[in-house]
C-alpha cells in the first residue's frame, strides 16, 4: 500500500483514538463531574461575576433560545460595524480598506453562523484587527453556541419530565474554557513549531533567485488556524485557506488540522452515550454516520486517484492522481479525504481547490453538505441528525401501527410539524437560491453589479451550474467552502447567501431545541415490549433510509444537471 493511502487511514484512526476519550471528557464537563481541567474554574467564576450571570439558574427551552439569540444578535452588530470600519481601526499593517456594506453583511453573518463563506480574500479584504477581534472571536463563540445548544438537547433527553434544562451561559462558557480554548492552545503551539507564522510584522519583501521582487503576506496565523479547525469554522487567514503553504506548511500540520476538525463532531456523538448512559445508542448513530461518510469518501478517492481523463488523453502521466488545484505536499489521496471531511462536518476549510476536483468528487462533496449530519459541525451536526431521528421514529411507529415514542416520550403532530419543516427548509433555501441565480445568469446577464451575471461563472456549461449549486449548498449547510471560481463578490451573492446562511443556521438550532424541550415536558412512558428500541441496528437502517430519501433525493435533479452531467461528458 502506498504512503498516501496509509497517511489517510492513519489520520482517521488517530481521529477516533482521540475522539472517544474526548467524548467521555466532554460528557463529564457538562455533567459537572471532576476533570483534569478544573484548574480553569476560577476563570469561569471571573467571567460569570464580570458578566453578572448566575450559572446555577435553571432555564427552560424558551429561555435558552432567548439567551442564544440575544447574544448572537449582539455579535452580528458588533462584527458588521468592525468590518465596515476596519480601515480606520488599529492593527492594519498592510493598510487594507474597510469592507463595503454588502460584503460586511455577508462576512459578519458568515462568521457568526460558523459558516465562513469568504467573499473577500484575507490578504487584502481583512486587517489583523478584524482577523482577531471579529473572526477569531467568532470562531470560538459560534462553535461554543452550537455545543451549548446540543447540551440543552442532551439534557432534555436525560431527565424525566422536566422543564429545567440547565443554564445556557454555563454550557456556553464551559465550551470555551474547558474545550475549545485549552485544546486550541496546544494545537497552535504545534503549528508554531512547524512553520506557521505567529508574528504581527506584516508583509515582507525579498528579491527572488531569478531577481523578481516578491511581497509575502504573513501574520499571526497559527492561533487562528487552530480554532478554525477545532471549532469546525473553516474561515482561513489567506485566500487559499489551508492550501496556502503558511497556513498548512507540511504533512504533519495537515494531519493535525484534519484530526482537529473531525475530533469534536465525533466526540459529541460518543459524549451523548456517556451523558445519557446509553452507549449502544451512540454506537448506532456513529455507525450510521460512518457508513454515510464511507459512501461519500470511497467514490471521491477513486475519482481523484484515477486522475482527470481529459489530461490522461494528452499522454500526461498522473502517477498519484489529479493535480489541478492540489498541493504536492498533500497529494490527491489526502486532498480527497480532506474534501469529504470538510464538507460533511461543516468546516469548509480546504487544502485543495474544490472547483477543480473531478465531477464525481464534486457530487459527493455537495451531497455531504446537503445531508449535513454525517458527524456534522460542532454541536449542530447532531442537531440535524436529531431531526432525522424524530422523522425515523415517526415513520417506524406508523409502519408497525404504534404511537411513535422516543426515549419514553410520545412524538405527536406538533413535534412532527417542526421536524418536517426543518428537514424541508434545507432543500428549499438551496434550490430557490439556485433558481434565482440561474435566472439572473440567463435573463439579466448584463445587470450592472461589481461582477455582471454574465461573468459570474468561471467555467462554461454544467460545471458553471455546479458552481452556483455549490455556493448555496455551502451557505445553507453553514459549510463555507466554495467552488471558488464563482464571481461571488457582489451585491447579489453577498445578500442572497447572507440570508440563506442565517436561515440555515438558526432555524435548525431552534427546531431541535423546541422539539427536545416539548418532549421533555411530556409524561414519561416506561419501556415495554412494544417500545421501538432506538439502540438497534434496525433503527439505524431506518434513520439511514430517511436520510437518503429526504436529504439526498430532493437534490437529485439539481445534481443531475450539474456534476453528474459533467461526469458523463468527461471522456
Amino acid at each position: 500500500m502506498n504512503t498516501e493511502l496509509t497517511g489517510v487511514i492513519f489520520t482517521y484512526l488517530l481521529t477516533l483514538a482521540i475522539a472517544i476519550p474526548l467524548g467521555r471528557y466532554i460528557a463529564k464537563v457538562f455533567k459537572g463531574e471532576k476533570t483534569w481541567l478544573d484548574f480553569m474554574a476560577p476563570l469561569d467564576r471571573l467571567i460569570f461575576r464580570f458578566s453578572g450571570i448566575d450559572p446555577k439558574r435553571e432555564m427552560n427551552w424558551k429561555q435558552h433560545l432567548l439567551a442564544l439569540l440575544t447574544i448572537n444578535s449582539v455579535w452580528l452588530i458588533y462584527a458588521f460595524v468592525c468590518l465596515m470600519a476596519q480601515g480606520h481601526l488599529p492593527l492594519n499593517p498592510d493598510g487594507n480598506p474597510g469592507q463595503s456594506a454588502d460584503t460586511a453583511f455577508n462576512t459578519a453573518i458568515s462568521f457568526l453562523v460558523n459558516c465562513n463563506l469568504q467573499h473577500y480574500s484575507g490578504e487584502s479584504g481583512a486587517t489583523y484587527f478584524t482577523q482577531h477581534f471579529v473572526f477569531m472571536f467568532l470562531h470560538f463563540v459560534s462553535a461554543a453556541t452550537g455545543i451549548a445548544a446540543l447540551v440543552v438537547v442532551f439534557r432534555a433527553m436525560k431527565d424525566k419530565v422536566t422543564d429545567k434544562l440547565g443554564n445556557f451561559w454555563e454550557y456556553f462558557v464551559k465550551s470555551i474554557t474547558r474545550i475549545l480554548l485549552p485544546f486550541s492552545f496546544v494545537i497552535a503551539v504545534i503549528f508554531a513549531f512547524n512553520g506557521m507564522t505567529t508574528s504581527y510584522a506584516g508583509k515582507d519583501t525579498f528579491i527572488s533567485m531569478q531577481g523578481d521582487t516578491v511581497h509575502v503576506s504573513r501574520g499571526p496565523v497559527a492561533a487562528l488556524v487552530a480554532i478554525k479547525h477545532l471549532g469546525t469554522n473553516g474561515g482561513g487567514w489567506f485566500g487559499a485557506n489551508s492550501a496556502h503553504p503558511i497556513e498548512n506548511p507540511n504533512y504533519l500540520t495537515n494531519t493535525v488540522e484534519l484530526v482537529a476538525q473531525v475530533a469534536i463532531p465525533i466526540a459529541l456523538v460518543f459524549a451523548l452515550g456517556f451523558y445519557l448512559n446509553k452507549k449502544k445508542f451512540s454506537y448506532v448513530i456513529f455507525g450510521v454516520m460512518t457508513l454515510g461518510m464511507l459512501m461519500l469518501l470511497i467514490p471521491t478517492m477513486n475519482a481523484e486517484l484515477n486522475g482527470n481523463p481529459a489530461i490522461a488523453k494528452m499522454g500526461i502521466s498522473q502517477p498519484t492522481g489529479a493535480m489541478e488545484g492540489k498541493e504536492v505536499r498533500f497529494g490527491p489521496a489526502n486532498s480527497a479525504y480532506w474534501s469529504i471531511m470538510t464538507t460533511i462536518i461543516s468546516t469548509g476549510s480546504v487544502n485543495s481547490m474544490h472547483d477543480s476536483a473531478m465531477p464525481v468528487s464534486g457530487t459527493m462533496m455537495m451531497l455531504g453538505m446537503m445531508i449535513n449530519c454525517f458527524y456534522g459541525g460542532c454541536g449542530v451536526g447532531f442537531l440535524n441528525f436529531y431531526i432525522f431521528i424524530i422523522v425515523a421514529v415517526f415513520i417506524s411507529g406508523l409502519m408497525v401501527g404504534r404511537t411513535p415514542e422516543f426515549l419514553g416520550r410520545k412524538i405527536e403532530a406538533r413535534e412532527m410539524k417542526i421536524a418536517s419543516l426543518i428537514a424541508l427548509l434545507h432543500p428549499f433555501i438551496i434550490l430557490v437560491g439556485l433558481a434565482i441565480s440561474s435566472y439572473y445568469v440567463v435573463n439579466v446577464a448584463g445587470a450592472d453589479w461589481a461582477v455582471k451575471p454574465s461573468a459570474w461563472l468561471n467555467n462554461p456549461g454544467t460545471h458553471g451550474f455546479s458552481e452556483m449549486l455549490y455556493e448555496y449548498t455551502s451557505s445553507a449547510a453553514n459549510n463555507g467552502s466554495g467552488f471558488e471560481g464563482l464571481g461571488d463578490g457582489n451585491i447579489f451573492w453577498n445578500y442572497t447567501t447572507g440570508i440563506v446562511m442565517i436561515l440555515g443556521r438558526f432555524l435548525p438550532i431552534i427546531g431541535p431545541l423546541a422539539i427536545a424541550g416539548l418532549l421533555a415536558n411530556k409524561k414519561y412512558i416506561p419501556e415495554s415490549a412494544g417500545t421501538l428500541k432506538s439502540d438497534t441496528s434496525t433503527f439505524g437502517v431506518m434513520i439511514f433510509a430517511v436520510i437518503v430519501i429526504i436529504a439526498a433525493l430532493s437534490f437529485f435533479p439539481a445534481l443531475a444537471l450539474g456534476p453528474i452531467a459533467e461526469h458523463f461528458s468527461l471522456k
Partner: protein, 187 residues
C-alpha cells in the same frame, strides 16, 4: 430581553479579551522561540534572503529547476488556484500549451514522462514543491544549461528529496527553492 441583553454584552467583552487578545498574544510569545521566530523561515544565499522555505517562487530559466504553474504567478501578496473545472475546454487548451512549452525546453522528454503536477496549477498558487519524478525529468535540461553531469544532478535531486512523514505517511517531495539554491552552490 433586558435579562439577557446586559449579560450578553458583558460576556462578549470579556470573551473578546480572552479569545482574541490573550490567546493569540500567548501564541505569538511562544512563536518567538520557534525556528524563524514566528516570522516565517527564510532561505539565505550569499548572505542575502532569497525567499521563504515554504513559499514557492517563479523559476523560468533553463538553468533552474521549475516549480508548478501558478494561477497567481507566484505573487505571494495573494494566493489562489485556477478554479478551472476538469472539463473546461479553455483550461484543457492551456494545459496543452504548457506541455508543448515544456517539451520545447526539454527535448528528448516524452509526454508520458511528464508528471501531472508540472502542467497543472496548484491550489495556493504558491506550492513550493514538486514530486521527485518532476525534478528528475528536468535534470537533462539543467545539466546541459549549466554544463554539469547528469549523474551529479540526479544525486543532488536524491539528496533533496524529502521522504514521507516518518517514512510512512504522505507523498515524497522536493522543495524547488532549496534544490535551486543547492544548484547555485555547486556553481
Amino acid at each position: 430581553m433586558k435579562t439577557y441583553l446586559l449579560p450578553s454584552i458583558k460576556l462578549t467583552l470579556i470573551l473578546i479579551v480572552l479569545t482574541a487578545g490573550i490567546y493569540p498574544l500567548a501564541i505569538a510569545g511562544i512563536g518567538k522561540f520557534t525556528p524563524g521566530k514566528g516570522d516565517g523561515e527564510t532561505i539565505t544565499y550569499k548572505d542575502r534572503v532569497v525567499g521563504y522555505a515554504n513559499i514557492g517562487q517563479k523559476f523560468t530559466k533553463d538553468e533552474y529547476f521549475w516549480g508548478r504553474p501558478s494561477a497567481v504567478d507566484y505573487n505571494a501578496a495573494g494566493s489562489g488556484g485556477s478554479n478551472k473545472g476538469p472539463s473546461n475546454p479553455d483550461y484543457l487548451k492551456q494545459v496543452e500549451g504548457r506541455i508543448d512549452d515544456f517539451m520545447k525546453h526539454n527535448p528528448g522528454v516524452t509526454r508520458s514522462q511528464i508528471p501531472a503536477e508540472l502542467v497543472t496549477a496548484s491550489g495556493s498558487g504558491l506550492d513550493p514543491d514538486i514530486s521527485p519524478a518532476g525534478a528528475k525529468v528536468q535534470v537533462a535540461r539543467v545539466a546541459k544549461a549549466r554544463g554539469l553531469s547528469v549523474d551529479a544532478l540526479n544525486k543532488l535531486v536524491d539528496e533533496h528529496t524529502e521522504q514521507p512523514l516518518l517514512g510512512m505517511f504522505g507523498p515524497a517531495k522536493v522543495n524547488v527553492l532549496k534544490l535551486n539554491v543547492a544548484l547555485d552552490e555547486l556553481k
